[in-house]
Amino acid sequence: MGRYVIRRLLQMIPVFFGATLLIFLMVNVMGDPIAGLCGDKACDPATASRLKREFGLDKPVWQQYATYMGNVFTGDFGTAFNGQKVTELMSTAFPVTIRLTIIAILFEIVIGITLGVITGLRRGRPIDTAVLILTLVVIAIPTFVTGLVLQLLLGVEWKWIKPSVTPEAPFDELLIPGLVLASVSLAYVTRLTRTSIAENSRADYVRTAVAKGLPRHRVITRHLLRNSLIPVVTFIGTDVGALMGGAIVTERIFNIHGVGYQLYQGILRQSTQTVVGFVTVLVLVFLVANLVVDLLYAVLDPRIRYA
């Protein structure tokens, strides 16, 4: 187990460098960021060249990347164009997005798995069909439509919530955005759990457990669910990273100043430091989430052992 974790951690290093280098190159080919900094008016050449030097944009790309990476390891993520430290942007953006992600994941786990178990155990019954239709509808409608409609109905028409989230972004204000963000994944979790449960409920060990006379809830939670959760855990694990990075649409609709917003701003303004900094952290989140998922397999199914 220990050796497995170490091997996995070592594998992360090339992935990490490759991913950041790619992002660095991508932002770089978008053109000279200083040109856009002065708005419709041309920057005066002297100031522009000084700014370029200050942000290190006058050096070749590989050198910029090397310097950047060197700084990152000392915890210095550089400065965004508006003069703020990127670490400062992160310290305000990440907590908000983490809260949003937690809510989304909780929705996925609580609603998704519950619905999946219910439908998996009642295959072909009306409730199964109803949930199937519901999940298909949710998957078919793009997130921004769900988001805007909920915002309009709950926020403007019925006034249950405020249409926009305040900068502090407390948990209660993030409930609806979290649900919107979770919606599509939630539907997938439901489908995945249903299939898995349906498959395993015919397995020998379930029949044995029932034959032993175990109470029904114990059969379901201890025996059936635990074995059925492996694909679901895989999905939710990879979803952590996807939700954090992919919240741009939801964050824009509900005015949430999180990671998605900062990334969007960074790309619009071509602030290499901001974009690469945030993506670097997101890459780390992805990698760690994947590792945790792999380790969870062993917890769920003791037959899976890592040497």
Binding site: M30, P167, I253, N255
Partner: protein, 542 residues
């Protein structure tokens, strides 16, 4: 046993989530509840908030609340009126003696003196400080020393600026510029307190100025709270208790917040909502002219566009554009078809002359076709109009212009749009002279002077002359106009220069942009100034 622990874990997680929800629930009531505070939408300023470093509207509106300069532009007429200036005297339009009014202080109690101005201007002009508005000081003698085009500055301060007394200082310009005092209302010329120089980063996180408001708290990227400054000595005191500027990720969300009663003022109604805005807001929707004009500029560094015949082609293209139809259907009348190269906010006395463009700006498909043929046809057989595709929904109107041109010329390949991915790349191609055809150009005035609509854009090698248009006659007339001390005569000369621009069709004027805003029933007396910024200090809260 393990199962039991799992269940406990899950239960705990849910309990924590619920508890967090419950905790957060208390304090969220009423976003606009505080007494007399106006809440307004805001965009994250692109640059740090410093007077000489702020060149866009979002940061500019904050400076307008926090600072008062020597002059201030009347929120209604745009006329430059003395604010902190007691008098500005000159005999030769190059040397000016400025006296600052007595009794003005910064909100931290420091007196506003002549030195407050001179120090601020020297700071802004110095290349070392990377101030994006440095070129505003370019008319002052010694600018080329503190801000050379290449290399390092050889002087720390502008030689043309001298403090002559506690409240007086003298300015020497490097050329005649009779209306120069009228430029002093621009934010870059604001005075700065010692605190700015002594502890710059502290000042940036909580700016101190001499305007009607003070900063209460500033969370970068999300919210700026300003409160009325009771000790403000000016006559334009704040009529409300303060202004909260909230950063919105999307102006659609701001608009939704306004309709839900969660926000008082939106100063940028999104294009997609223009159809509903009358129904939603009624007469709480403002749509007034602003000092912004949109044009199509041409790359004169490209031989094909710089031939004698090309002037006819440009005029023909201008006549092929159905401005009325485009402003009505695409912009829902938030733009007005342009008939000159300035803006209606200048007024007739200030140099705006409706119809100066004449027939060249009237839709005339037959005439257009004739002119383009006489001029030798479109260079390269096709006009490619470049624009940046990332913001501002430029695609729609560029496509509409092309449609209009194609119909007029009877050739559906005569004009196409040429999108450029990002604004930065677009600007990049422009500054590197890489444009192969006309491109979108916009100009938002810095100060309401006809000079500002002509000189920076069309004077030979001027800072924003992106098309590199050059004409000796035009330059001569502009120089004469700047040297002319009589304002009416100066305006007349500028218009003569504008006529040269028209005859050559140096750039095609498209439309004047309006400022649009909407407000809630909680506030009244809302208006936009000629810069399309709300006049915050006059807003009343019921």
């Amino acid at each position: 046993m393990r199962g039991a622990t799992h269940a406990k874990w899950a239960a705990c997680a849910v309990a924590v989530a619920l508890a967090a929800t419950a905790c957060g629930g208390g304090d969220s009531g009423g976003g606009s509840g505080a007494s007399g505070i106006v809440s307004s939408s805001w965009g994250d300023p692109q640059n740090p908030l410093e007077p000489a470093n702020t060149n866009e509207v979002q940061g500019g509106k904050v400076l307008d609340m926090l600072f008062r300069g020597l002059k201030r532009y009347d929120p209604k007429t745009g006329a430059a009126k003395d604010m902190l200036a007691e008098k500005i005297e000159t005999t030769d339009s190059t040397s000016f003696t400025i006296t600052v009014k007595d009794g003005w202080t910064f909100s931290n109690g420091e007196k506003v003196t002549a030195k407050s101005f001179v120090d601020a201007w020297n700071y802004g002009a110095n290349l070392k400080h990377n101030q994006k508005n440095a070129y505003f000081f370019g008319y002052i003698e010694g600018y080329d020393k503190t801000h050379p085009d290449k290399g390092d500055a050889s002087a720390e301060t502008l030689s043309g600026l001298k403090v002559t007394g506690e409240r007086t200082f003298s300015v020497k310009l490097n050329q005649k510029f009779s209306t120069w005092p009228d430029t002093l209302g621009y934010a870059a010329f604001a005075p700065l307190p010692r605190a700015f120089f002594d502890n710059h980063s502290a000042w940036l996180s909580k700016p101190i100025g001499n305007g009607p408001y003070t900063v209460n708290s500033y969370t970068k990227g999300s919210k700026l709270e300003m409160r009325k400054w009771d000790g403000y000595p000016g006559t334009d005191k704040a009529q409300n208790g303060g202004v909260d500027l909230k950063v919105y990720t999307d102006n659609n969300t701001a608009y939704t917040d306004l309709t839900a009663g969660n926000l008082d003022l939106v100063d940028d109604v999104p294009a997609s909502q223009l159809k509903n805005v009358k129904a939603d807001l009624g007469d709480r929707y403002i749509n007034t002219p602003a000092g912004i004009i949109q044009t199509l500029a041409f790359p004169y560094y490209d031989e094909a566009w710089n031939t004698p015949g090309a002037a006819k082609v440009r005029k023909g293209l201008s006549m092929a554009i159905n401005r009325e139809q485009i402003t009505d259907t695409i912009f829902q009348k938030t733009r007005t078809p342009a008939t000159d190269w300035t803006s209606p906010v200048l007024g007739a006395d200030g140099g705006y002359k409706a119809g100066l463009c004449g027939d060249a700006c009237k839709y005339d498909p037959a005439g257009a076709k004739k002119l383009v043929q006489e001029g030798g046809g479109i260079p390269g057989g096709q006009v490619k109009i470049s624009y940046n595709a990332d913001t501002g929904s430029h695609k729609e109107w560029v496509d509409a212009i092309c449609n209009s041109v194609n119909n007029a010329l009877g050739n559906d390949k005569a004009c196409v749009g040429n999108p450029v991915g990002t604004f930065a790349d677009f600007r990049n191609q422009i500054t590197q002279n890489k444009m192969s055809g006309p491109f979108r150009a916009g100009w938002q005035m810095d100060y309401p002077l006809v000079q500002n609509f002509l000189q920076p854009l069309y004077y030979t090698n001027a800072s924003s002359n992106d098309g590199k248009w050059t004409n000796a006659e035009f330059d001569k007339l502009v120089n004469e106009a700047n040297a002319e001390t009589d304002k009416a005569k100066a305006v007349d000369l500028f218009q003569k220069a504008e006529e040269v621009l028209r005859d050559q069709m140096g750039a095609i004027p498209l439309w004047y942009q309006n400022g649009s805003a909407g407000y809630s029933t909680r506030v009244s007396n809302v208006a936009l100034n000629p810069f399309s910024v709300p006049v915050y200090n006059e807003i009343k809260v019921s």
